[in-house]
């Protein structure tokens, strides 16, 4: 599905903003992620709480006000029910996250910060995602697109 130029430019700019903040918070550093997961440093938990603390009430308000977005029509939040895939997939994700010390967003920042082994991290992510997609396709289904991933709205 070909996206409009506006969606591509917005994607690039917001991606850059996201990457900038990840780098400014050093979330692309293995040590920072492991200091959080060892429960030795509250920094990353507080950062996530700060992000959610700002965005959750604002999204709630914008949804209640039924505002129209610039490129995507009337605002639409996604609030799916829990499935087994959320839990099993989440557990596998947590296992891989702890071992590789980074997650999909920070992994590409790791790469552009000069971390050579991050090439393997990014390669592994592509591999794992593709294996899952192929497996689901073989069984005649389509991949789970969670509430934090892209969805089809009025004007794609």
């Amino acid at each position: 599905m070909q996206s409009s130029l506006g969606h591509k430019v917005a994607g690039l700019l917001f991606g850059a903003g996201f990457g900038f903040v990840l780098a400014a918070a050093k979330l692309h550093e293995y040590e920072v992620i492991h200091a959080m997961l060892r429960l030795e440093e509250a920094y990353t938990f507080l950062l996530m709480a700060g992000a959610i603390g700002v965005s959750m009430p604002l999204l709630w308000l914008l949804d209640r006000a039924k505002i129209t977005t610039l490129l995507g029509g009337r605002i639409a939040l996604s609030r799916s029910k829990v499935t087994k895939a959320n839990i099993v997939g989440g557990a596998l994700f947590g296992l891989g996250w702890a071992v590789s010390g980074t997650c999909p967003g920070p992994a590409v920042v790791m790469l552009s910060s000069g971390a050579g082994l991050a090439v393997l991290t990014v390669l592994g992510l592509f591999l794992g995602l593709t294996i899952r997609d192929r497996q689901v396709a073989r069984n005649g289904g389509s991949a789970t697109v969670g509430d934090g991933e892209q969805r089809l709205v009025a004007t794609p």
């Binding site: 996201f18 780098a23 596998l92 590789s100 794992g128």
Partner: protein, 162 residues
């Protein structure tokens, strides 16, 4: 040029700047594109483009390109600049071999990618964007991966991995 917003001696932005900034990006992207900012889905769409499939959501590819570009800017303007290194110094120190670390990281990242696709998102997708929408599925996935990652890190610690 240095952006002076630092509280820590290692030059990170304080969490109360970086966290709300991330939150505003999430809200801003809803206001512009009416979409959440999950990273793992962007990998999946990019993989589709790379393998020549026609059903890829193409703006996601631009989003995935933006992250390392913005990251490079952040490292240059706020952080310590580009630094050629392995990125896994604590593991390299523990195991004394780039090859072993590389193999473990590759397997770990593959499991992580598989899990993210199965769960329908990752730390940014479920953890921030889904949770911010008050999605039960995202809250469940986030609680699960947080708990498992903390438990795994604890077990790795017992095995001598920092």
């Amino acid at each position: 040029m240095q952006i002076e917003l630092t509280e820590f001696s290692d030059g990170r932005w304080p969490w109360w700047i970086a966290g709300p900034a991330l939150g505003m990006l999430v809200v801003g992207f809803f206001l512009v594109s009416n979409q959440p900012l999950g990273a793992s889905g962007a990998y999946a769409e990019t993989a589709k483009v790379l393998t020549g499939r026609k059903d890829a959501v193409s703006w996601r590819v631009w989003y995935l390109i933006g992250i390392p570009v913005g990251g490079f800017l952040g490292i240059t303007l706020v952080g310590n600049g580009f630094d050629a290194r392995t990125g896994y110094e604590p593991l390299v120190e523990a195991w004394n071999s780039n090859w072993i670390v590389g193999a473990v990281v590759l397997v770990g990242a593959t499991v992580m990618g598989y899990g993210a696709r199965m769960a329908g998102g990752c730390t940014s997708g479920h953890g921030i964007c889904g949770t911010a929408q008050r999605s039960p599925a995202s809250l469940a996935a986030t609680g699960t991966f947080m708990a498992v990652a903390i438990a795994t890190t604890f077990l790795l610690g017992l095995a001598g991995v920092k």
